[in-house]
Amino acid sequence: MSGAVSKIELAASFPTLRDEDWKYTDLSRPIAIAQQWLDSGSNEQPPDADLIDSIKAAADAAWIVIANGELLEASSTGLQEAGIEVSLLSSDEPAIDVPLANLNTQFRTGGIRIRVIEDRLDQRPIGLLVIDSAAGAPVMSQARVDIELDERAAARFIEYHVSSGDDEHYSNSLIRLNLAADASVEYLRFQDRALHHSQTARLNVRLERGSRLTHGGIDLGGRLSRNDLKIDIAGPDAVATFNGLYVAGTGQHIDNHTRVDHRVGPAVSDQEYRGILSGRSRAVWNGKAIVHRGADGTDAQQANHNLLLSERSEIDAKPELEIYADEVKCAHGTTVGQLDERALFYLRCRGLDESRAKRVLTRAFAATIVERAPIAELHELIGERVEQRLRELGDAS
């Protein structure tokens, strides 16, 4: 626990701009929050009951509420769900030796383990409501979840991030998702935090033979948001499909780093991330795929498309492919641009005025990813939130 750690030691456990994987994302603000939090060292914040209720009302899910890093039993409706076992994660789990995962291991006070025993794809999703608040003092929290799927087990998950409170907050979550042979997961991550809060989030996935992950990640909130999605393909015939959308306005920085390790083949990984950047905003996308020796028959696809609505917004997009195997099919593409002039003219020729045509095309750009995301029952809610956010950002100005 935190007792003996000095502020300097704490700062040293964060990566810096000199680390290749972090060169575009400056963590000095989260570090400052963490250091201030050390003084109080308390996460005892009253959870925002209204916010919890509104989310629970919006989607029927087996909710497991994690407030400032700790299980909020009273609000959780998913602790006795059929086909799954939920327990507390023991504190002596082996550390994951990467920056920030270590921070989580060092400072987490809670931790949940979910085991999925059956195929429950046709039942309501399991909802991880990661809700944070900071009132009275800056707060750092460490949500932590381990998810295991037995052979042939299947489930749908929502990882829903929200936050409230006037003070600064930094959330550093760590989730591990292990799929045994022929297991299947549909996973939707929706990050809708307060715009003055920051977050780093890591999801480490391991896919055994014949298992299947469909992931959708959507980031609307946060001043600083960094997601690390790491997928280890450990068995043949595994399929990982993951798509992402980020919408950023002035003052926001959204960084998505994905990394797929194809350790055996044949297997498929297919990702497409899209971003809409307005005002003075910045986004980073880095997609790394490593096809290890012997992972023959790998199919790895990467795409990243960005719509820059303002000249002051900035994107750093970088696909990275390292191939050490034979007979692999790999492709990547990135684009950065404005709205399609031909489509704009077409819509205007049908009577839509220019500003409306731009709005329609901007939404269409985002909608493609939302529609592809798993957990269809949340599409409408997310679509509305995207719409609202774009409107706040002054649309396609």
Binding site: D340, A343, Y346, C349, R350, L352, D353, E354, V360
Partner: protein, 250 residues
């Protein structure tokens, strides 16, 4: 309805239309023919309001008003419809959404209420049946993954829904098999009315077997080189475009 006088249009450094004049009255169907690159699509784009084409001289009047003053969307709401030679694919924009938005933009402009959802669907299904289109197309992205023929039918569907005063169909017949061609022709013929005008842009005579034009014009070197009735199209088919060019230069 449409009066074009001495229209000169450039794109980039090249002058494409070099003093074109054309007059289209309500109730008429005009065919504009001409070889590839003669400026047919340029003319259609200028009438629709494309900003890349610069009008350097001449006038275009629509229903008595200066058309060149209007934005593309204003022209559409005033009753001009351009059926694109290459309809644009717009993934993520629902076909039904666009049809309804287009219809309502026009209705609003004319002081009418928005169309009721039920009425809209009924109308769309009706028009689709005539065109031999599966109603499923309503829920797809605009032209997304459509075949060439499906895209052209979709243009005609939009036209049928919007009931324009002046429809300009740019090579709507190209790439169509005979069934699709007949369906498209049926859609166009259904629109023929004393208060409407239609301009068919084509470089084949084939379409004119199904839609009989009142006038045929041949575009060559940026001007109407020759005008006549439907027999001109047959003559062209026989003698080729060179004949027009030679006759014009003689």
């Amino acid at each position: 309805m449409l009066n074009i006088e001495n229209l000169k249009v450039t794109i980039g450094d090249s002058e494409i239309l070099r003093g074109l004049s054309l007059s289209v009255k309500a109730g008429e169907v005009h065919a504009i023919m001409g070889p590839n690159g003669s400026g047919k699509s340029t003319l259609a784009s200028v009438i629709a309001g494309h900003e890349d084409y610069v009008v350097t001289d001449g006038t275009v009047r629509f229903k008595g008003a200066d058309l060149l003053e209007l934005e593309p969307e204003e022209r559409a709401r005033e009753g001009i419809f351009l059926g694109f030679q290459y309809p644009v694919e717009i993934p993520g924009v629902n076909n039904a959404y666009l049809l309804k938005a287009a219809l309502n933009a026009k209705r609003e402009h004319h002081g009418l209420e928005e169309i009721d959802a039920f009425e809209f669907l009924k109308l769309a299904r009706e028009k689709m049946a005539v065109l031999g289109m599966d109603p499923k197309f309503l829920n797809r992205g605009v032209n997304e993954g459509f075949s060439g023929g499906e895209k052209k039918r979709n243009e005609i569907l939009q036209m049928a829904m919007l009931e324009p005063d002046l429809a300009i169909l740019d090579e709507t017949d190209s790439g169509l098999d005979i069934d699709a061609l007949k369906a498209v022709a049926e859609g166009v013929n259904a629109l023929r009315a004393p208060d409407r005008a239609i301009i068919l842009v084509t470089h084949y005579q084939r379409l004119l077997d199904y839609i009989e034009p009142d006038y045929v014009h041949v575009l060559s070197e940026g001007r109407i080189a020759r005008s006549g009735d439907k027999t001109l199209a047959l003559e062209l088919e026989e003698k080729g475009y060179e004949w027009v060019r030679e006759a014009a230069n003689a």
